[in-house]
């Protein structure tokens, strides 16, 4: 029903996460109505990000150039490495501002069912980094999900004895309601209880 270029745009927009046909159509009509300048700026930004952004040679996070801003920052503590699954996971840590060490981005989590084995993640790169003399601690900050836990356990096994390996605390989120806590979370919170 649409002219070919419009159908093509709707199809491409539909591939974005959380964008169904309806939303894709709405976005396409917005782009058609928008100034050329605005539309071309979006197209160029997509191209530019793919052309200019690669992986940091140290931490495997997204970087413009060979090293990311955090690894380039002389003020960061090089003795602690916080291991996360995805580049997006670095953002909340930077937002709280409490962590001043470096990161290591795995590029996913272990999931044999989906064919994601250790060699598909940046685990070898992490083991290499953790072997450096300056590294004292590795914080495993993979997600508290089945795959994230499996990944953390696998890495902990590989790093055994080399450095101190820690894991983010699991428990009730601040502001949560005990009555509505799920059993697994509550179990974790109980077994991880601390002396006051």
């Amino acid at each position: 029903m649409h002219a070919a270029p419009i159908s093509r745009l709707i199809n491409e927009l539909s591939r974005l996460p959380g964008v169904g046909r309806r939303t894709a159509q709405r976005l396409a009509f917005h782009i058609l109505r928008a100034d050329d300048e605005e539309a071309f700026a979006l197209a160029d930004a997509i191209r530019e990000v793919k052309e200019k952004i690669g992986l940091c040679e140290i931490c495997q996070n997204l970087a413009e150039g060979p090293r990311c801003r955090i690894c380039q920052d002389e003020g960061r503590d090089r003795s602690v490495i916080c291991v996360v699954e995805e580049p997006a996971d670095v953002i909340p840590f930077e937002r709280i501002g409490e962590f001043r060490g470096l990161y290591h981005v795995l590029g996913g989590a272990l999931s044999p069912i989906d064919g994601i084995d250790p060699e598909h993640l940046k685990i070898a790169e992490l083991l290499h980094r953790a072997g450096a003399e300056e590294v004292r601690e590795v914080v495993l900050a993979t997600n508290p999900t089945t795959t994230g836990e499996a990944t953390a356990l696998h890495i902990a096994g590989q790093l055994g004895g080399v450095v101190i390996v820690t894991r983010l605390a699991s428990g009730l989120p601040v502001g949560a309601d005990l009555e509505h806590a799920d059993e697994v979370t509550l179990g974790r919170a109980f077994s991880g209880r601390r002396t006051l």
Copy 2:
């Protein structure tokens, strides 16, 4: 916190309707993770749609080339013109398949408060078309909103006596949006159109 090309992409994505900072960031990370091929296909589709799609010289709907597919279709009934506000409003009519005439896309609705006066819409083009001998009826299918009603009344006044002027039947809930009308309601409204 992000490298400049990533921030730029997030900013551009945030300008899309219904896309906040959070969603824009999620979409940007998806694009970063996607194959170059997929990302470039999206960028190219945006460029292509702006470069190739213009307005149909007859009905002012979106068209690839000088005339849209509907106006080019010899099988359509040239004696009835269905007047809608936006290109997206043509889609639900085509979906119900009951209407076999041509369209006229105004490019919006009258709204003096927003500075949208008759000369900002494709009303002159409609009056010119309606003056042709073959045209028997003009169906006013602007949205059943204040601005849509005002636009319908204005056009009905201009067309008085020249052709039969009809309006979609009520049955569409007032304040609703034509683009999202369900097909049964829209079919009822269309078959129940009345002379103004």
